[in-house]
Amino acid sequence: MKMSPLDRVLLLLTGLLAAYQVAVGINGLGAVPITAYTIGFGVLLVAGLLLIILGFDVLDSPIVVIVSTIIPLSLSLGLVWEHLAAWRTPYLLFVLGGFLAIVLTRSLPLKGKLPTLVLAVVHGVAGMVIFLLPSVLAAQGVTRPGFALVGLGGALIGLGGLLLSFLKAGKPILPRTTILRILPALLLLMTAAFVAGFALA
């Protein structure tokens, strides 16, 4: 499917927002959250640029499944590190183990449901962390209400990640053309929600 000029504009805005977040939006945080958010938004930025350059064909690359996992894993790690001190080490181990499991199940010629199961568990947990943690913290008044927007971003990234990952895994939830049609807007909304949420926290 050919990328329209509007798609390119939306992806460019996504890239600019991600660049802003890396450069300005995470200043003043600790070393681990900064690193985690830099990786998450950085991957989003570079992926957006490559989408603009190469069009939707780049999504045919087998590396997309792995890349689309890095974003939720790194963002959720940053959130846990900032707000759930007791879970830092276990969650770090989950992130590293989950990423390794996805790389291995995508690289080795495995049959059966294991690769899909690993993908669903890792994406599901990371997505739930990004969705629930900011929402709960905002609801409890621990952070400002605007931080709940990060949760909205989490819901959108979870949706986008699952759509892309299952498409790549050969078990699409929606038709490919539908996914590609909504993807640029979904990426922009997601990034805008993250940027606004962090700014309003």
Partner: protein, 293 residues
């Protein structure tokens, strides 16, 4: 060289001439080099006087445009046999060689003259860029050795050095690092280009890295160059005192460049090659903006 151009051209309006001349100065390439020159100046954070900035932009634009026109004038026979370039105004006869030569010389003299008037050292560096590009790269080495791109690269690094020198009044380590960054960025751009248009260059009998050393070696050179370019920009950024957030952003963009460069080595394909070619330009522009802020 085979001369098969019409001797005379009908009189044209100024607008028609501008339209014809614009492709002669390769606006995107000239714009990118101009951006490096402005970034070199602004990276010194000495306070930007509007007149000096105008002089810098004007003199660099004229000198870079002049050298590009002279390059295109000399290479018109090559351009005529390459699919990618045979429609250029000199190659297809819309602009006569003499007219192009006059234009190139006028732009070059104006550009270098303006630069010398602003500052002798700045003018010398602008002249060096023009000399390396026109005489060493185009006239002397381009048709003899694939290593000519080193001189093309040095020439490409002169605008950023010139801008830095105009601001600081001297050639400092940051200026040299910025020049190195452009010099080593150029292979990621030009070598991917020479792989993409391999047949064109072979038809024109221009020695390139892919035709001399093969694609595998060329890809390795691209990856190595990208590492050095990214490292040079990073170190220059730290020395300039770029804010931590912008350094993070530079690191992200550099990581993208390195990943694509390594992808050309370990997973070579036309798609990866093309994306590196495009990404490299974006990378350089973005890096220069970050250094200038």
């Amino acid at each position: 060289m085979t001369e098969h151009f019409p001797k005379t051209h009908p009189r044209r309006s100024i607008l028609q001439r501008v339209r014809l001349y614009l492709p002669l100065i390769k606006t995107l390439q000239t714009g990118l080099l101009l951006a490096t020159g402005l970034a070199g100046y602004l990276s010194a954070h000495t306070g930007s006087a509007p007149l000096v900035l105008l002089g810098l932009a004007g003199s660099l634009f004229l000198a870079i445009s002049g050298s590009t026109v002279l390059n295109m004038w000399y290479d018109r026979d090559i351009d005529a046999v390459m699919n990618r370039t045979h429609h250029r105004p000199i190659a297809d006869g819309r602009v006569s060689p003499n007219e192009a030569l006059r234009l190139g010389l006028i732009l070059s003299v104006l550009g270098v003259g303006w630069a010398v008037a602003m500052s002798p050292l700045y003018g010398l560096i602008v002249f060096a860029g023009l000399f390396f590009d026109v005489v060493v790269y185009t006239l002397w080495l381009k048709r003899r050795t694939c290593w000519s791109i080193v001189w093309g690269g040095i020439s490409g690094g002169m605008p950023v050095l010139a801008g830095r020198v105009l601001a600081t009044g001297q050639i400092d380590l940051v200026g040299i690092l910025l020049t190195m960054a452009v010099l080593f960025w150029i292979p990621t751009h030009i070598l991917t280009f020479s792989m993409r248009f391999f047949d064109d260059y072979r038809a024109a009998r221009i020695p390139t890295f892919p035709s001399t050393y093969g694609f595998e070696t060329t890809r390795a050179v691209i990856a190595l160059s990208a590492i050095i370019a990214a490292a040079s920009i990073g170190v220059a950024g730290v020395m300039i005192g770029v804010q931590a957030g912008f350094l993070r952003l530079m690191a992200v963009l550099s990581a993208g460049l390195l990943l694509l460069s390594f992808a050309t080595v370990f997973r070579p394909s036309e798609r990866v090659n093309y994306s590196l070619f495009k990404y490299a330009s974006l990378y350089m522009l973005a890096s220069m903006i970050l250094l200038a802020i």
